[in-house]
Symmetry: C2
C-alpha cells in the first residue's frame, strides 16, 4: 500500500482498537499545544474520536447529557485539534489543542484551579 | 481557627469530598512539574490520595492488581509529589511531580508515545 511504502512502521489508526470502559468511554486529557498547560479532562467514545479527527474540532461525549459535546459549540470556547496521542495501554488519550478562551466552564483558563497546600484548598485563578 | 485566620479563603482538603466513580476511584493525571510533559494517567482512591499527601510519594490504586501502587517502588521510577490539584467537578486530579527515570512501564519517558497523524499511528519515542 502506498502509505505503508512511505512509512513501513506506520499502521492505520482505528478508534475501535482502543480499550473502553463499561460505558464505552476513554478519558481524554486536553493539553494546550503551545504552553503545555493541562486544561481539562473529559471523555470520548469511538465516534467522538472519529469526529474529532475528521473535523479538527475536539468533540467529547457528555456523560451528564449523554450526547456529543463539540467543545465551544455554545460557549465559543472551542478546542482546535493539533494532535491526538494514545497511551501505552490504549485506554487513555492526550489531546493537544489550540484553546479559544477559557477551557473551564467556570470561566477560568483551566479546570485544575484548586491546589492542595499544607492540607488546605487554595484557589489559584479567578474567572475571566 | 489559626489556619483560617491566616488565610480566610482556605478550607481543609478532605479526600472524601471528591466525586469517585463506582469503583471508588478518580483519574489522576501526572505532569512533570518542570517541563510540563504529561507523563501518564492512573487512578487513585481516597486512601491513595491521603497516602500521597502524607508521604510525598505518588501512590496510585492499581486496578489490575487491586492494590496500592507506590509509583517506582519496584522499578525505582518514582514520582515525588510537588503539588496536587483538583478539578472544577472534583472528579479528577492533576498531580505535579518530579519524575525519576521513565514514567512509562515500556521504558519511555511518558505513556503517550503513539501519535495519530493523517490516520496513521506514529511512534514518537523509543524505550530508554
Amino acid at each position: 500500500m502506498t502509505d505503508q511504502s512511505k512509512d513501513p512502521g506506520a499502521v492505520p489508526f482505528d478508534p475501535q482498537s482502543l480499550t473502553y470502559n463499561d460505558a464505552g468511554l476513554v478519558p481524554a486529557i486536553a493539553q494546550d499545544a503551545g504552553s503545555g498547560e493541562v486544561l481539562m479532562l473529559a471523555w470520548m467514545n469511538a465516534e467522538s474520536i472519529a469526529r474529532t479527527l475528521e473535523t479538527g474540532r475536539v468533540t467529547y461525549w457528555s456523560r451528564s447529557r449523554q450526547a456529543f459535546w463539540i467543545k465551544g459549540e455554545t460557549s465559543g470556547h472551542a478546542q482546535e485539534l493539533v494532535e491526538l496521542r494514545v497511551d501505552c495501554d490504549r485506554d487513555c488519550l492526550l489531546v493537544l489543542v489550540r484553546q479559544t478562551g477559557p477551557a473551564c466552564h467556570t470561566g477560568r483558563p483551566n479546570c485544575f484551579y484548586t491546589s492542595v497546600r499544607e492540607g488546605q484548598e487554595v484557589i489559584l485563578s479567578d474567572p475571566a
